[in-house]
């Protein structure tokens, strides 16, 4: 039935991603192919983060998938030195940022891998990274675009 987990389900932050669990399963399928995507309302053309099944602006329920830029710039960042949630406590310190996607008004929150807090600045360029999780799941982070 479900997908295998590394942790008790109530402590596993990563969503169930397959078609039997979620209507936005294409987001995860696209991510597996290196594409960061979201939904665009077929009626009012609203593009929202995160992907939706109903448009909160016009109440329409027809959505199409669109690609978001795979590069961006750091708008704000910090690093978690202590107080990480269960399953992430061995990763400290890790950098979290708000990333402004290139040429888009859209921002996303994500971890930035392969860089320390001291070596990052507001405005630095970053590019998408897809990570593999237990049970064939995936998630996205970013990397410095060096």
């Amino acid at each position: 039935m479900g997908e295998p987990h590394e942790m008790h389900f109530a402590f596993d932050f990563y969503p169930l991603q397959s078609q039997e669990h979620t209507r936005i399963w294409p987001f995860f399928e696209n991510l597996k192919h290196g594409r960061l995507t979201t939904t665009k309302c077929r009626n009012c053309a609203s593009i929202l983060w995160q992907p939706r099944v109903v448009c909160p602006r016009c109440n329409h329920d027809g959505m199409e998938w669109i690609d978001l830029p795979a590069t961006g710039r750091v708008f704000a960042f910090t690093a978690v030195y202590a107080g990480a949630p269960l399953g992430m406590e061995k990763d400290v310190p890790f950098v979290i940022a708000i990333v402004e996607l290139e040429g888009s008004p859209m921002k996303v929150v994500a971890r930035i891998d392969d860089v320390g807090y001291e070596d990052l600045k507001i405005g630095d360029a970053v590019r998408l990274k897809v990570i593999d999780l237990a049970g064939g799941r995936v998630w996205f982070r970013f990397l410095p675009a060096r």
Partner: protein, 388 residues
């Protein structure tokens, strides 16, 4: 609508308590009921319980009947839990206000209680991360300290706020907490100690962050005509405002200006017919040092971006423009989520009644309570007035 008053108060010691959720609830009930000997428990027709993470941290859903049983209450009009994360406490007071004002309830007990400390810190932090949108924000390891660190970094970037200015908020609030026997951290700290405390999420250090704290606070509320049955010094709720903005971090209106706070305060002041400059004291939600700096600005106490200077100038200390967080704030008292909003109101009530230690006593007639929750996407403001 009827006038609504707070007519009784109860507190427990806050800290890492060798006590369970239900034991803390019993303690706060005793403190409240001891203070109002004229209260017959059978006259309490309503009960509102502000507990945010009781499901995850005390492994107990549906706490209202449990609290009623621990307190020996059998509500007949309205009993419920109010859950709004860190605003759960003020939410309980607001729902009690609404129920009493409209005539459904006559006498209500409000309890804010939280048992936060369990043996596993990562489990606590996981539960705190679920206060944010778990699947899109929490999943990235974001919980309260890194979120408010992003806010602090942007505020420093946009307005030139400094780590020294952040530290001064912690120094001030610990100074006042040292006068508060209920506080989790009743001890003064120096600026050097704040700046040198362990990194949590830069630019925030340990002493920029409120603690993980067990504790409870409770008030008795009734309508204006009944208030003097229970106390000679009722404190009236004259204004209430609440406003929200989004859920996901990237969908907030603005990271460094809290528009929902501005709207909530405007609504509360309009309802009470007063302004920020009429306030004699304020309890604002200093979950992190940056929060209090932005609260000065967005409450209109100083120009935008000048909150750091406001605290450095002593304007939020006794003798300044508006004495703020005299019980020691969340930084000094700790932050048992559902209890905080209730304890803020109790500080104002006890100030009006001259029941606080001399060192932090300002008395006064008008007080403001501000509670925020989540990624600051929800702000609640309440204006209290000393009954004449």
């Amino acid at each position: 609508m009827r006038k609504v008053a707070i007519v009784g108060t109860g507190m427990t010691k806050w800290g890492v308590r060798a006590a369970t959720y239900r034991e803390i609830v019993q303690e706060v009930g005793k403190d409240l009921f001891d203070e109002v000997p004229n209260l017959e428990k059978r006259d309490v027709d309503s009960l509102f319980v502000g507990s945010a993470l009781v499901d995850r941290l005390a492994f107990q859903a549906y706490p209202a009947p449990l609290v009623a049983e621990q307190l020996g209450l059998t509500p007949t009009r309205l009993a419920m839990r109010t859950e709004m994360a860190c605003v759960s406490g003020q939410s309980a007071i607001r729902v009690a206000y609404a129920s009493i004002a409209c005539g459904l309830s006559d006498v209500a007990v409000v309890v804010g209680a939280e048992k936060m400390n369990i043996p596993s810190m990562p489990e606590i932090q996981s539960s705190m991360a679920c206060v944010l949108d778990r699947e899109w924000d929490g999943v990235n390891g974001l919980n309260a300290p890194p979120y408010f660190a992003l806010v602090a970094q942007r505020h420093m970037h946009e307005y030139g706020t400094t780590e020294e200015q952040l530290a001064e908020v912690s120094v001030k609030n610990h100074d006042y907490a040292a006068t508060n026997p209920y506080a989790h951290f009743p001890k003064r700290v120096t600026k050097e100690k704040v700046l040198g405390s362990p990194k949590i999420a830069p630019p925030l250090k340990l002493l920029d962050c409120s603690g993980i704290t067990d504790g409870a606070a409770a008030v008795l509320m009734t309508h204006g005509d009944a208030a003097r049955r229970y106390t000679d010094t009722p404190v009236f709720i004259e204004g209430l405002g609440q406003s929200q903005s989004g859920s996901l971090v990237v969908n907030l209106e603005n990271l460094t200006t809290w528009n929902p706070l501005k709207r909530a305060a405007a609504e509360a002041f309009r309802m009470a017919g007063v302004t920020i400059h009429d306030m004699d004291l304020a309890e604002t939600h200093d979950c992190f040092t940056i929060s209090e700096i932005m609260e000065y600005e967005d409450l209109g106490l100083c120009e935008k971006g000048k909150g750091g200077e406001f605290v450095m100038d002593g304007q939020s200390r006794i003798g300044g423009e508006l004495p703020t967080n005299l019980r020691g704030g969340l930084l000094g008292c700790g932050h048992p989520l559902g209890a905080t909003g209730v304890a803020q109101a109790i500080e104002v009530v006890r100030q009006f009644r001259a029941q606080v230690p001399e060192e932090r006593s300002v008395g006064g007639e008008w007080g403001l309570c501000h509670n925020l929750s989540g990624n600051a996407n929800n702000h609640a403001v309440m204006i209290l007035h000393r009954g004449s």
